[in-house]
Amino acid sequence: MPLRETLPTGWVAAAGLLVGFGTRMGGGCTSGHGVCGLGRLSARSLVAVITFMASAMVSVFIVRHLLGVAS
């Protein structure tokens, strides 16, 4: 797999902090809420999945298209 070398390290670190904090706070990630939660038809997980999908899409739009960071 070709490695990406464009995302500045500060952004990488900030993203890692957000992912670690948010996953603990929300009780799951793409695997926990997404694959496992949806698989057992959990309403809680469905809400989490819709929320993080939407927020990730908005985040990409802002970082890539509005701020012009090469992610």
Binding site: L3, T9, W11, G16, V19, A43, A56, V63
Partner: protein, 130 residues
């Protein structure tokens, strides 16, 4: 002991699946999340395929799997998911793929995973204060 081997096998399969599907490639993930750009919808099928397997698997092994008991749809759930999504959208890594990407030994994957662990501990510390 057999539980250890199950975990080893499951982790091995999970890691291979993440690589083969492209989930461990942040460029691919961001291409999926970038609906306003050159949208690559293929990861939708990865998620769909994985959920199809867990749907059947959880039905079969229902009695053997510890089921989470929390049912509340509350502010921490939505707030946490929103914060996680922001980070996911910036770097294109969610926790599982980030750990799998450590195998590339890239500086990026190491910085991300280290920050992710710090973020997790930060939440733990804050939760204790409150």
């Amino acid at each position: 002991m057999s539980a250890l081997f199950s975990a080893l096998g499951a982790g091995f399969l999970f890691g291979i699946g993440l690589w083969v599907s492209g989930m461990a490639n942040p460029k691919k993930v961001l291409g999926f999340l970038d609906v306003a750009g050159n949208w690559d919808a293929s990861l939708l099928f990865v998620m769909g395929g994985a959920v199809a397997v867990t749907l059947v698997g959880f039905k079969i092994y229902k009695a053997k799997i510890p089921i989470p008991t929390l049912k509340d749809i509350d502010a921490p759930l939505v707030g946490g998911a929103a914060l996680f999504g922001i980070g996911w959208g910036i770097a294109g890594y969610c926790p599982g793929p980030a750990i799998t990407a450590l195998s590339t030994l890239s500086q990026e994957s190491v910085v991300f995973v280290a920050s992710m662990i710090v973020g997790g501990f930060a939440h733990r510390a804050l939760a204790k204060i409150r």
